[in-house]
Subunit: 270 residues, 2 copies
């Protein structure tokens, strides 16, 4: 009924983990993806900056005539979701509530860990979402500021990555039964994280959980796309296209991806 | 954030299959259930009548200050969802799209069957929803007008029930790999239906699928209830309370249920 694209935004390449799930679960949907690689990582930035940068990307996506916006970035979701959602007349969805809801369903011992960027941890949005629904759950949050730079520089398979993951997660080992990957970059380190935490810890990919919610909202607002021959996804980055393209092709595994450079207008809210 | 109840409506007791899933999956939510048992079944009625009766129940639920309305009835959904949804400023959700979406995901041979009431089959809403997303799927619809009276009279375990189910489903046997129980009464006959269709046929309980969507919409519209000591579900029927109560207690399995008689005002739209 509505073949306009779905817009995804992220501070960089992390949101590609959401894009991958979206392409897999919703093959009739076209996406426009914008990664603000030039200004990544968002995690150490102030809330004011994150809000302003998120608006820059929202306005870029609106210029592409999107029917829905997915904040495929936990940091942007934590800081900007409510603000953006109330100002737009298209649906806007973030990755925190879907991840929190799924973790509540899956925890067996009521001990949930959340790893995320500094800004996300500071926002307290995950514990808030979990405790709102289930106050008796113990939530331990841990900022892992070194993870995003590893992913953005495509060093996921390096020995440095292994060392950083091991050291960063030490405070959580043995203390949680469920771990929310509270940053869309982190599923790119999933194997290392699982190995470090142990096979019994259930990892929650908040991005993948979000796609189920996107599907429900497409139904609810009657925005589903139709099956069609030609679907042209668009990928934009605010920095150079090359390293973005390498990660996108490796991660999405849908053949050649044409990544374009985006000049986004800064500082203009809706 | 919002402890108002969720309203569920059905032509009779069928929607209790949705209520059961809702109570299981969303323990923080209180429900108000109205079954129009006096005027059930809806299936053989005209669209005009079904629309008017549905509005009677919607108005009853609105008088109970509900935060969301679930049409836990395929017939009402097929005929009245769009009309009611556009006129209310609270979310209104039906059972057809969730069931159709789930069937599309689960079919292995692209042959989906739909069993429903006459009015639902006549509306063509299931094939429409499935073909919109996936035109290459073969959809076979079959009206089973004898099923609802069996359930409403609590004869699910009788030999008559077995005979009726076997004869009714004959046209579908061997022809579908997935079968949508396109009436919320039908899960009460699930064992018989599965036995008749064969173990390899995947049965889709549209009501249970709907509860996942309800959960997403509660998140999206920030309408979740909080964990609290006392939750008082309310069950109403437009006919006598006794047989409703027997089925409700058997099916919901949450101890004593206080069923009340509802006098609903007729013929007053919003």
């Amino acid at each position: 009924m509505d073949n306009r694209p779905i817009g995804l935004l992220d501070s960089g390449v992390g949101g590609l983990t959401v894009a991958r799930e979206l392409l897999r679960q919703l093959p009739n949907e076209e996406i426009v993806y914008i990664g603000d690689t030039r200004r990544a990582p968002y995690g150490p930035r102030s809330s004011e900056q994150i809000l302003a940068f998120t608006w820059d990307m929202v306005n870029f996506l609106l210029s592409k005539n999107v029917k829905m916006i997915v904040m495929a970035c936990n940091t942007a979701t934590a800081v900007a979701l409510e603000n953006v959602k109330t100002k737009l007349d298209i649906p806007v969805i973030g990755v925190i509530l879907p991840g929190a809801s799924s973790a509540i369903q899956q925890t067996t011992g009521k001990k949930i860990g959340v790893i995320a960027t500094q800004a996300s941890v500071r926002s307290g949005e995950y514990p808030k979402a979990i405790h709102f629904k289930s106050p008796s759950i113990e939530v331990t949050s841990l900022a892992c500021p070194k993870f995003v730079p590893i992913v953005e520089s495509n060093e996921m398979d390096s020995t440095i990555a292994e060392k950083v993951v091991k050291e960063s997660l030490k405070p959580l080992i043995g203390k949680v039964d469920t771990l929310i990957l509270g940053c869309t970059h982190y599923p790119l380190l999933r194997t290392l994280i699982q190995k470090t935490m142990g096979e019994n810890v259930k990892l929650i990919d908040s991005g993948a959980e979000t796609v189920r919610d996107i599907s429900v909202l497409l139904n609810y607002f009657m925005l589903n796309g139709t099956e069609r021959e030609q679907i042209n996804h668009q990928f934009y980055t605010t920095a150079g296209v090359e390293s973005f393209q390498i990660i996108a092709e490796k991660w999405l595994n849908i053949g050649h991806i044409n990544v374009m450079h985006a000049e986004i207008e800064e500082g203009k809210e809706l």
